[in-house]
């Protein structure tokens, strides 16, 4: 089992520091791990950013990389999960000719895939689908015969199956340690 290449979602919490993202992606490069998807943004906690990376490899390699990333001073905490330990989604946008929506059974395809129309004008329509990469790819395949003008997919975002954001526990612990330090 240890020698099995698996897909991992690496969730990284960082301080908002310039240049940190490139240092993080560097660690993946150095360990020969491909980045299949990457998304980054602010969290609900002020000043804390989230970077979510999908990679695949041996668990040992991924663990090593995670430890190296966590070693970066401005990285707060890193978690990594196999698929079954998280809930995750991507967003995909599909641009099609508006008149093709009138063709065949496209309506039922859109309904079946819970697709939303986010913009529509006389020449084109932008459809939005949220789901796993398999699901968004599946819709792509079904729409393809009708002609897709443009297609774009976001990086994965994921949330752990734990009750609370695990980062909170770490931050509370650090807060306590800071108070102890100040008392000394």
């Amino acid at each position: 089992m240890e020698n099995e290449v698996k897909e991992y979602t690496v969730i990284i919490y960082t301080e908002n520091q310039i240049g940190l993202l490139s240092q993080i992606t560097n660690v993946f490069t150095r360990h020969g791990l491909s980045i299949w998807s990457l998304s980054a943004g602010a969290t609900s906690m002020e000043g804390i950013h989230n970077i979510t990376i999908v990679t695949s490899g041996l668990e040992k390699k991924v663990r090593e990389s995670v430890q190296q990333i966590e070693k970066r001073v401005d990285v707060i905490k890193v978690f990594f999960y196999t698929q079954n330990k998280i809930v995750y989604r991507e967003v995909a946008l599909y641009k099609v000719h508006t008149n093709c929506l009138l063709e065949g059974d496209i309506e039922s395809i859109l309904t079946r895939h819970h697709t939303r129309i986010v913009e529509m004008n006389k020449s084109f329509t932008v459809l939005q689908k949220t789901g796993t990469s398999e699901e968004t790819a599946h819709l792509y395949d079904e729409l393809k015969p009708y002609g897709i003008l443009q297609f774009i997919r976001s990086g994965r975002i994921a949330i752990s199956r734990a009750q609370q954001e695990p980062i909170l526990r770490f931050l509370r612990k650090r807060e306590k340690e800071k108070k102890q330090l100040n008392r000394q």
């Binding site: 301080e15 310039i18 240049g19 240092q23 150095r30 090593e64 966590e70 401005d74 800071k178 330090l181």
Partner: protein
């Protein structure tokens, strides 16, 4: 109380350095760092600036300084080429856990990204190779950034940090108020020691019949020399040192078994694959230490103690990994474990030593005739300095021989580029070591290849009057590569023969005395003369041309497969 006053960013830098207790920096001026150098005129009574001849010299000198002082060395370089010239030293310091604060000039923030004159993406370049970096773009950030830099460089597993200082931030005016940094939310320098791990380790220690300690520089960085001794004595455990751990235990400490690794001593290497418990303290299982990983100590339980959690299990799977400061962990273990005796196990080490003495050491230290051997020189220097000197090495045969045959009575007495193996490191590092410790003799062992990589630093020695004792082990070859070509590349000596300059002329051009030694009869007298005063000296010693460092664990072999000579293996 209002204790702030308005100064420019450059002055804020010097003030901040002084707040951190800095009194010595190594640097080289240039266009984009000029405001900092201008401001230095106002701080000359507090700060000694050593002007080097190349920025690589500055950073290696700062490394030598930091290794002796146990606090961050400070480097100042200009933007662009000044900054790129320190890159090798940054990697070296990162690999060898040396605390440094490197300050580079940078173009004004408005010009960033425009390919301005002498602009280089320094934070981009150094991001992956340093512990932390930060671009200071506003004068008001100087104090904050410097405080963080020193905290990060010296705490936990030490390392280099880089502050890239834009010119507008240097000239900009700010209120100055300094507050030392002692906490960063995202950075845990010292992991909490797990009680459970300590219990498991004590259990292993109490039942081990053939325990062996291998320790590295972590012991020195933690100041754990005495804690290590107490641990070894109570457990009656023999110990081998990595290259960078050398001098943490005195050479005559009874349980000390010498150096481990490729050119280490036979006994600790052989016993690594015979022990039933291997206790690794503040070391990271470098491939030069392990030989083939797949056969390394596979028979043994392994306890690995390191302050850097990412080192545990990185190379060698462990039975118990203890994250924490080496000294604290060792004291806990010593307190909780039972006293033991391992006389029979220790006897085995003596037998290995006897073989090495007879087959390797005697010929190296007491040859019956012929050319001077490198080992004789190192041995004589150790003897003549009463084992009191700081030994600095370059990289290659000179380094391995100096490591093998130097004897130590104090910790922090051996400085070498271990992980990166940077040729040219030795001469500037020796300068830094002497600046850090003017009262002790600093002896450099360097080859004819390495000395020429940073020989321009003779200028620094001249200008600053730095009394380093330089022993050039001159064999007209790039000796270590030549050795590998002889042993593993069918004696095809590709580009390893060097035609050497007259080093006497070079040294004398810089006002440095040079003594040339060509025959054995001259050696002792020359060494005595060179060590008789405080002046810098170069001793150009013509040693045996084609000698090999033995014993040797050849690449691709297990740590217990040891060559004693070209045609003899340890059995």
């Amino acid at each position: 109380m209002n204790n702030t006053k308005q100064i420019n960013g450059a002055a804020a830098l010097w003030q901040s350095l002084i707040e951190e207790g800095v009194d010595t920096v190594f640097g080289y001026p240039g266009g984009q760092i000029m405001p900092v150098y201008d401001s230095l005129c106002d701080f000359e009574k507090d700060i000694r600036h050593i002007l080097v001849r190349h920025e690589q010299g500055a950073i290696h000198a700062a490394q030598g300084y930091a290794r002796i002082k146990g606090k961050p060395g400070v480097v100042i370089a200009t933007s662009g080429p000044g900054a790129t010239n320190v890159v090798t030293g940054i990697v070296d310091a990162m690999t060898d856990s040396t605390p440094l604060v490197v300050i580079t000039g940078q173009v004004s923030s408005a010009a960033l990204g425009t390919d301005a004159f002498q602009e280089a993406d320094v934070t981009g370049l150094t991001g992956p190779i340093c512990k932390w970096n930060y671009q200071i773009r506003r004068a008001e950030d100087v104090a904050w950034a410097v405080a963080r830099a020193f905290y990060i460089a010296r705490t936990g597993r030490p390392g280099p940090v880089v502050l890239d200082f834009t010119k507008d931030a240097q000239v900009g005016v700010t209120d100055f108020h300094y507050e030392k940094c002692d906490f960063i939310r995202s950075y845990v320098p010292e992991p909490r020691i797990s009680d459970q791990c300590i219990r498991q380790a004590v259990e292993l220690l109490d039942h081990a019949e053939r325990p062996l300690v291998v320790f590295g520089q972590g012991v020195v960085l933690s100041g754990a020399e005495e804690a290590l001794k107490d641990f070894l004595i109570k457990g009656d455990i023999p110990a081998g040192s990595t290259l960078l751990g050398l001098s943490a235990l005195g050479s005559d400490f009874p349980l000390y078994q010498g150096m481990i690794g490729m050119h280490g001593n036979v006994a600790p290497n052989i016993m690594t694959n015979q022990c039933d418990l291997l206790i690794a303290v503040g070391m990271r299982f470098d491939d030069r230490v392990t030989g083939t990983v797949s056969s390394y100590a596979t028979q043994a339980s392994i306890i690995h103690i390191d302050i850097d959690p990412s080192e545990i299990g990185k190379i060698i799977p462990v039975t118990v990994g203890i994250k924490g400061d080496a000294g604290k962990v060792l004291r806990l273990l010593t307190e909780k474990m039972k006293p033991r005796k391992h006389r029979e196990w220790l006897e085995g080490f003596r037998r290995c030593h006897a073989v090495e003495q007879e087959k390797v050491i005697d010929a190296e230290l007491h040859p019956s005739g012929g050319d001077i051997r490198m080992g004789e020189v190192v041995d004589a220097v150790s003897r003549l300095t009463g084992e009191e000197c700081i030994v600095v090495t370059d990289v290659g045969q000179n380094q391995m021989i100096a490591a093998r045959y130097s004897r130590f009575s104090h910790s922090r007495s051996f400085i070498s580029s271990g992980g990166l193996g940077t040729m040219g490191f030795g001469l500037p590092a020796a300068i830094g070591a002497k600046v850090a410790s003017p009262e002790r003799p600093v002896c450099l062992f360097v080859g004819d290849g390495g000395i020429q990589m940073t020989i321009q630093e003779f200028g620094t020695i001249m200008q600053e009057g730095i009394g380093v004792k330089m022993f050039l082990l001159n064999n007209d070859w790039l000796g270590n590569v030549r050795q590998w070509q002889e042993l593993f590349f069918g004696k095809r000596y590709s580009q390893t023969r060097m035609l050497n300059p007259d080093y006497r002329l070079i040294a004398e051009a810089y006002g440095i005395r040079c003594i040339v030694v060509e025959r054995r009869e001259q050696l002792e007298g020359a060494l005595r003369e060179s060590l008789s005063d405080e002046a810098p000296v170069l001793v150009d010693i013509h040693v045996m041309k084609e000698s090999n460092v033995m014993p040797m664990v050849p690449p691709g072999k297990g740590i217990n497969q040891i060559m004693l000579s070209q045609n003899e293996w340890y059995e």
